[in-house]
């Protein structure tokens, strides 16, 4: 039965259902329980933004608060997963990748290949991304491109509550290391989410709407930005296809290429850094693979090449907006 619940509730539910169904699923991170052991468990934090609230209470033996030492506990999640567990490690903010990246970059991602196919490391890392809260340069980044860059990792960037639940369920049961990026601005957005357990496959894009003029590719929070722009453009008779790839690795290239073959125009909206990022990745592969279908220069709508600023007016100017997407689409129509 579907109800409207919040994105963060959908994530909580996905974890809970997997933990109920599968004893090997464990959860670890900073404050993922919170106040565990103090006698106030019922009130426990459940992570810095409350996403895992209640899980410690239900599974006290499988939810672990960790000391602030991401390399050790993210590495432990990787190690436990190589030893038969399905560990979910929470990296509080993706901005913190720099203190623990090796355990994903050189360990989890490469075990299977280096060991000749003999390792299985079904670890899932959940992490918060995104700007928009004046959290400044070290708490607002969306570095999924860095992870997408790494063969051996799978990267998931859900854009709504329904997808979040289904994709996280899949990630947890997936036998490869998965990184699951949760945009903080989506946490309180609501969507129809079935109560039951369900899964959404990785590598299958969601086509939100089909249009004939321009293909817009957008991820995570940017999907809503793209949708808003498309609505506006429709008033002027410009019809857009909106593709939410849902996962950057594996990537549903087919969905993108076949759409561009129809529309001949591509705009990618991306919140990650503009250089060597996801937007460039999509534009480059499209240019290489379906060049002859392109009627106009593909456009990238990304933040400028600067750190995320603190002041609200600067941060607003920093982020891709519907207006910028509109302008980019119009440019492809000239």
């Amino acid at each position: 039965m579907a109800r409207k619940i919040m994105f963060k509730e959908a994530i909580n539910e996905a974890i809970r259902l997997e933990m109920e169904r599968d004893e090997t699923v464990i959860l670890m991170g900073l404050d993922v329980a919170g106040s565990a052991g103090t006698g106030q468990e019922r009130d426990s934090w459940g992570g810095v933004l409350g996403v895992t609230k209640g899980l410690y209470h239900q599974f006290p033996e499988r939810v672990f608060d960790a000391p602030i030492s991401e390399s050790s506990y993210i590495g432990a999640a990787v190690g436990a997963s190589a030893c038969g567990m399905r560990a979910i490690g929470e990296l509080m903010f993706a901005d913190f990748l720099g203190v623990c990246f090796d355990q994903l970059y050189n360990q989890a991602a490469k075990f299977r290949y280096m060991f000749g196919g003999k390792a299985v490391t079904p670890v899932t890392i959940r992490t918060i991304i995104g700007a928009g809260f004046c959290a400044a340069a070290q708490h607002s980044q969306s570095p999924y491109s860095i992870f997408t860059h790494v063969p051996g990792l799978k990267c998931i960037v859900p854009s709504n509550a329904y997808d979040a639940k289904g994709l996280l369920a899949t990630a947890i049961q997936d036998d490869d290391p998965c990184i699951f990026f949760e945009h903080k601005a989506l946490y309180t957005t609501k969507g129809d989410v079935p109560e039951e357990h369900y899964r959404i496959p990785l590598g299958k894009a969601n086509i939100l709407q089909e249009g004939k003029d321009v293909t817009i590719v957008a991820l995570g929070l940017m999907v809503s930005v793209a949708t808003k722009a498309a609505k506006q453009l429709e008033k002027d008779g410009i019809s857009c296809t909106i593709i939410d790839p849902r996962t950057t690795s594996p990537l549903d290239q087919d969905a993108i290429f076949s759409s561009v073959k129809k529309t001949g125009r591509l705009v990618v909206v991306d919140e990650d850094s503009s250089r060597c990022g996801f937007a460039a990745d999509i534009v480059a592969m499209t240019a290489q693979e379906v060049f002859s279908s392109l009627k106009a220069a593909p456009q990238m709508v990304t933040p400028p090449f600067v750190p995320v600023p603190f002041a609200r007016n600067l941060e607003t100017a920093y982020l891709p907006s519907a207006a910028k997407v509109e302008a980019a689409v119009r440019q492809t129509m000239e």
């Binding site: 602030i68 913190f96 400044a136 708490h139 603190f310």
Partner: protein, 326 residues
Amino acid sequence: MSGQMSKEALLKAYRKMRQIREFEERIHSEFATGEIPGFVHLYAGEEAVAVGFCEHLSNKDRISSTHRGHGHCIAKGVDLMGMMAEIYGRKTGTCGGKGGSMHIADLDVGMLGANGIVGAGPPLACGAGLASKLRKDGSVSVVFFGDGAANQGTNFESMNLAVTWDLPVIFVLENNGYAESTSPKYTARVGTENISDRARGFGMPAITVDGNDFFAVYEAAGEAIERARKGGGPSFVECKTLRYYGHFEGDAQTYRPKGEVKDARANNDPLKRFAAAVVAADLIDSVELEKIDKEVRAQVDSAVTAAKAAPDPDPESLFTDVYVSY
């Protein structure tokens, strides 16, 4: 009580502590109005630590700080008006509104920056200490960090590096008993009685002091800093203290025992203890302290008024200051 402190020094220290307290209390109430953006972590309750150390330092000495950095900034002499404007995200802020509460820095006064990354400060402080050592100017660097941060690999590595390279770095642990919501009874659990024991294992002098007793901190700080200035290498000082507010503004603090803060405010407040001590010792008249309180209140008040009235950063500033040249 530190016998060596002159009356002026005592008054200065008290003023600093009061500035921090007033600054933080005021931000707490202003934050509630919704006008202050971002994540804000308040230092109220821990004033004796920042001031107890920084009163030994000059602009040539450096400190590195944490997400809970306002107190360190004020103690090190960062302009309070600029700080408030920064926290409001204004053009007139210390960082032009581009850093915010978690990133206030002022290299001119030796403040290497608050830091949003837990454990990022210790390596930077080692670098500052190395620069001091190479310059042979007797300057030192002091790194503040919390009981949570004390578990971060960067912190252990840096203690080790400071010992190996014999650096003039003082590691100051602000043990307020919480890392966000996780209590020492569980997560922060260390295998030894005090976190300083763990530090001693790295082979440097390490002690634990009452971090709410300004004079205890001041004395321990003086010793460690003096040792470092004379080429005696790093030290570790654990200061046991308490934060009066939540981890960040907006924290419901469900993890805290009821009455913990109320009790501390009543019986273990660093400013009250300082005041009681200096008055009891007949060093300072309570009227003088009240005068400072009033002056500071006016100062913070005008900082808030100015911050609110200040303009937003110029739109073009989004694109500047990424590189010196590019």
